[in-house]
């Protein structure tokens, strides 16, 4: 009796672990990725890698939409655990994500983190101030928008203390 309960408990733990560790990008999308090089290399020679499928992370700068497609300007960030972008100053540049679906600018808002799997298309040159910037363009296959991290503090507090009451 006790043994079966133990087995059940272990099973429940395993399942919850597997659910909890699910990555942001689906297995199908991830298996399509064909480019594993650096973002810097991709940016210096965008045409060389055209048609390849990449997985990139970043922070949204702007989301715009037209009748036929939506477009997100993203500040690239390196990917960390579970394909989540690591926020910080380690950006190597910018890129554009284009999707045929409607992406609401109120949901895909400035400052949110995202991970995208998509096909590299020809790069686009646009101006940032007076600077002509060549944006690599990614046709989105799958976009994962990460929930905004709350000003987190540990919900569970473990304390070890030695005390005496009189």
């Amino acid at each position: 009796m006790a043994v079966t309960w133990a087995v059940r408990l272990v099973g429940i733990c395993l399942v919850s672990l597997m659910l909890g560790c699910a990555t942001g990008i689906s297995r199908e999308a991830r298996s399509q990725v064909t480019y594993y090089g650096s973002f810097a290399a991709l940016q210096t020679a965008p045409d060389e890698h055209m048609g390849k499928i990449v997985m990139l992370g970043g922070k949204i700068i702007e989301t715009t939409g037209s009748e036929t497609f939506s477009e997100i300007t993203v500040l690239q960030l390196p990917l960390g655990r579970r394909d989540r972008p690591q926020d910080g100053d380690r950006s190597r540049g910018r890129y554009l994500v284009r999707s045929e679906e409607f992406l609401d600018p109120a949901i895909y808002e400035k400052g949110s983190l995202l991970t995208v799997v998509g096909r590299l298309s020809s790069s686009e040159v646009r101006s940032i101030g007076g600077f002509q910037y060549a944006y690599p363009l990614v046709e989105a296959i799958e976009i994962k928008l990460w929930p905004r991290a709350r000003e987190a503090y540990p919900r569970v507090h473990f304390g070890i203390g030695v005390g005496a009451s009189f």
Partner: protein, 197 residues
């Protein structure tokens, strides 16, 4: 913790070859982590090579007063970004000067003595070099550029950047309101309900 019974005078003995080796490992680990902390924590800003080129520090007021004597000299300055403007062949940053501390990190912006412009050939993304961020620069004193500031003209000293350091954002830990937070008994929550104050 398992407390081992000790008879008077005879300590509990372990395998003799086990203990010193573990001690060695611990010392090695400690040394390694110390070395790592030194290498990452004590990296100088700007680099040592640059600091060797810099003469005695020039008061910022002197740079503002448009003295040609300082042109071409190497300086270390810092402050808070006011604006990042991208140009066809580089970037121009407006900086609110602030005095530097011993690690060359800008102190409070309330101590500012003025502004300066920072010119670099690199493209600096305005989404990273955002307003309000701390920055330290090692560079060469260039010309003075008058630019409108409100209703007047401000004479900005221009620094040609050689080395640039953007300080990481300070994430201050703010404790949200916690109704169960109890200063008096802080880590020992289970003594909270003592019947006396």
């Amino acid at each position: 913790m398992v407390s081992e019974p000790r008879s008077n005078g005879t300590p509990v003995t372990r395998a003799p070859e086990d203990k010193p080796r573990r001690g060695c490992k611990l010392v090695l680990l400690l040394l390694l982590s110390l070395a790592h902390a030194c290498m990452t924590g004590c990296a100088s800003v700007p680099s040592r090579q640059f600091q060797q080129q810099v003469g005695p520090p020039i008061p910022f007021q002197e740079l503002l007063e448009e003295r040609e004597i300082h042109k071409g000299e190497m300086v270390i300055l810092g402050g808070y970004i006011l604006e990042t403007v991208n140009e066809p062949h580089g970037s121009l940053l407006t900086i609110l000067q602030a005095p530097l501390d011993s690690r060359n990190k800008p102190k409070s912006q309330d101590l500012s003595e003025g502004r300066f412009l920072l010119r670099t050939e690199k493209f600096l993304d305005p989404e990273i070099y955002t307003k309000g961020r701390k920055l330290t620069v090692g560079g060469k004193v260039s010309e003075v550029l008058p630019q409108p500031l409100g209703n007047r003209m401000y004479r900005y000293p221009v620094i040609e950047a050689e080395e640039l350091y953007l300080w990481s954002k300070e994430t201050r830990y703010i404790r949200p309101y916690d109704p169960y937070y109890d200063y008096w008994h802080y880590p020992w929550h289970w003594y909270r309900y003592r019947p006396y104050p």
